[in-house]
């Protein structure tokens, strides 16, 4: 009996390792994914004034910091019973799609694409973003432009491209100026074009790798996503579970999440394993993120992305259950985020300075949910009379996916060692 340990897992932002225990015949007997870091944000936001927490929690993730900032401030608005001005909501949504554009471009072009552009058998020393710049400079140029556009949106709306600061209870601390809006608007059509190129590129890549896509990491799971009136939505407002066979859809509001989502502590992982409570653990493990979002929604909210979603389901079936189809789904969302950015930037009210309403801290319990680039993100805080946080719970996007990532790696290992 032997053991294979893969550590560190590379080209991802967290800390992880995989252990594969082999039986006498060298076949994988037990495959585990371990997340090997813990910082304890849920503990150390306790005792902090709630308005400071959106400035602390972005450090959960330097890639999707904006999503943490916004889920956090939404949770506090909800705990204190605040309805923020419409323009502030639009600014926050714009900030979020800016982060989505940067992160989806990073995730695909910088972290995943080296495998496809340079090949999975390429020398590990060159199989990275520098290799992509070398081998496919035009692709790299568009990837860099998309990331820059996304980060510019977050910097203009959020004050800082990484770890933004403008979300405060009651609204936003800074309006978007007309000059900032005009500069972004000038770029947006080009970005939509690049977004379309991205989807066309993944379609070409998929044709080459279709054997692997249809055999490795193919698993049946539940799916969890965010929809508004049934449509794909980055910012609001209803959570929806889809059953593995695609027949059952269950909707609930963010504040009801504890009735639907549980977390199971496993001995070999700092991250807990979330599951759909009505089904139980481990049968109720589910996937979040682009693949889940495309499965869960009835349609995309923007027109070009909707055309591509229909085509996606024709290629992969419904619900699409191939883990390697995540890339294709992610690029459709990247295009949708660019389209959504255009709609928001063209909204005349976006530069209004009616962005903040008066607030009073009070004792309360609030849940804030947004769709972060890797999936549904939940922040939940309870505050005392002075607005100091006394209880906190967070279920981070990748956390939802950890048990199903493990399941997908198990399936892939069995397939590869067959």
């Amino acid at each position: 009996m032997g053991k294979i340990v893969i550590e560190p897992l590379s080209r991802l932002e967290g800390h992880g390792k995989v252990t594969i225990t082999l039986d006498e015949d060298g076949k994988p007997k037990d495959v585990k994914l371990h997340i090997t870091a813990l910082r304890g944000f849920e503990q150390f936001v306790i005792g902090r004034p709630a308005e400071e927490v959106p400035r602390i929690v972005p450090r959960i993730c330097g890639i999707c910091q904006t999503a943490h900032h916004l889920a956090s401030v939404k949770a506090i608005d909800s705990a204190w019973g605040v309805e923020i001005p419409e323009v502030a909501k639009k600014l926050r949504e714009l900030m979020l799609v800016g982060n989505m554009i940067h992160s989806h471009a990073l995730h695909f072009y910088f972290l995943a694409a080296p495998d496809f552009v340079l090949g999975v058998d390429a020398d590990p020393a060159i199989r990275n973003v520098v290799g992509v710049i070398d081998k496919a400079p035009e692709v790299a140029k568009q990837a860099i432009a998309l990331r820059k556009f996304g980060q510019s949106i977050v910097e203009a709306v959020g004050g800082k491209a990484i770890h933004p600061v403008t979300g405060i209870p009651g609204g936003q601390s800074k309006p978007l100026t007309e000059e900032e809006r005009d500069a972004l608007l000038k770029e947006v059509d080009q970005m939509i074009e690049y977004g379309k190129n991205g989807v066309e590129l993944i379609k070409q890549i998929n044709e080459k790798f279709m054997d692997q896509i249809k055999t490795l990491g193919v698993i049946d799971t539940y799916y969890l996503g965010l929809v508004k009136d049934g449509k794909h939505n980055f910012y609001d407002d209803t959570l929806r579970f889809l059953s593995p066979d695609g027949k059952e859809k269950v909707e609930f509001k963010p504040e009801e999440y504890l009735d639907y989502i549980g977390e199971y502590v496993v001995p070999y992982n700092y991250v807990k394993h979330p599951y759909y409570k009505k089904v139980g653990y481990p049968e109720g493990v589910y996937r979040v993120g682009p693949l889940a979002m495309l499965n869960v929604c009835d349609e995309m909210e923007t027109p070009l992305a909707e055309e591509y979603r229909k085509e996606f389901l024709e290629i992969f079936g419904f619900p699409a259950n191939q883990s390697l189809a995540y890339h294709h789904a992610r690029l459709i969302e990247l295009l949708s985020a660019c389209e959504r950015a255009k709609t928001l930037l063209e909204d005349n009210s976006i530069t209004s300075d009616d962005i903040k309403t008066d607030v009073e801290p009070k004792a309360g319990n609030g849940v804030g949910v947004v769709y972060a680039p890797r999936g549904v993100l939940i922040h939940n805080y309870e505050t005392d009379d002075n607005g100091i946080v006394i209880k906190a719970n967070m279920i981070v996007a990748t956390t939802h996916n950890v048990p199903t990532m493990e399941k997908a790696i198990q399936q892939a290992a069995q397939e590869i060692f067959k």
Binding site: E7, S10, R11, E42, C61, Q65, A125, N128, I162, V265
Partner: protein, 279 residues
């Protein structure tokens, strides 16, 4: 480069050089960097190692010694590596308290079971990397700006020492100062600050006066007070103590500021003179 107890924001800030990456990257050979590249072993004979993140668990501690042995120059890259950063707020709690809380939240099914297999045990407290090894240079910031990172890399490529700004955030802030001291302090949700005037003088607990420059005063420019993410200046021993000293001039009013420990040491608690909660 590597991320220890950090968030990868410093790595992303490097990528935020955007098209300038095309000029900078070809001059470098990335021999190790799990976030962007695949090599699993840290090779010998590294010229410059950029370390993001502080030390939170035994694996971080093991790695920082290995990094030091195999590198000519080690850089504390960002505020977590340099001063502990936001995860350092964990030092307000004992390790057991932190673990017990995280594994007993409302959504946890089997509350109180604590994972311990195949994962590195936590250290008692978060510490900056200089508590374990000799650090050659520091690039502070949460995260450092892309320009600061590029300037440091270019300086090293030219065989020069990277330089840090010596001024404070107020020197970079365009808000107007009238040299008045606030009589009372406000929390950030209170009122709508005048967009032209100094936030501190309006009563917001801005820490720009105690914080190293380099960010371009981004937070006050966006209407929110500085929280000290670039750490102390060369002339100061302790950011929190320095800031407390200034705020104390307000007398009674300063006593009413909530959560003073985590406000004044938001990013630097593990490096503070008093670096954890005294019981």
């Amino acid at each position: 480069m590597i991320q220890l107890c950090g968030c990868s924001g410093c790595h992303i800030s490097l990528l935020d050089l955007h098209e300038k990456l095309l000029e900078v990257l070809p001059n470098l050979e990335i021999v190790y960097g799990p976030i962007v590249a695949d090599p699993k072993e840290i090779p010998e004979g590294i010229d410059v190692f950029l370390v993001e993140g502080g030390i939170r668990n035994e694996h971080d501690e093991h790695l920082i010694h290995e990094i030091r042995e195999k590198s000519k120059i080690v850089i504390a890259w960002g505020t977590c590596a340099a001063y502990g950063g936001i995860p350092g707020l964990g030092n307000l709690y004992k390790k057991e308290e932190l673990l017990n809380y995280v594994y007993s939240t409302d959504s946890t099914e089997n509350k109180g079971e604590i994972p311990s297999e195949e994962i590195p045990p936590l250290e008692e407290y978060v510490k900056p990397i200089k508590d374990f090894i000799k650090v050659d240079y520091t690039i502070p910031g949460c995260p450092p700006t892309p320009k600061m990172i590029a300037d440091a890399i270019i300086a090293l490529l030219n065989g020069e020492e990277p330089k840090l700004p010596t001024k404070i955030v107020c020197d970079e802030c365009s808000r107007k100062k009238e040299n008045v001291f606030p009589e009372t302090f406000k929390r950030t949700y209170e009122g709508k600050p005048d967009p032209e005037r100094c936030l501190f003088e309006q009563g917001y607990t801005c820490l720009g006066f105690a914080t190293r420059a380099g960010c371009g005063a981004k937070c006050p420019s966006a209407g929110v007070p500085c929280r000290g993410c670039f750490g102390k200046t060369d002339r100061s021993l302790d950011l929190g103590a320095n800031a407390a000293n200034v705020l104390a001039n307000a007398g009674e009013a300063s006593l009413k500021i909530p959560d003073k420990v985590a406000l004044l040491n938001r990013f630097t608690l593990p490096d503070a003179l008093i670096n954890r909660k005294a019981k």
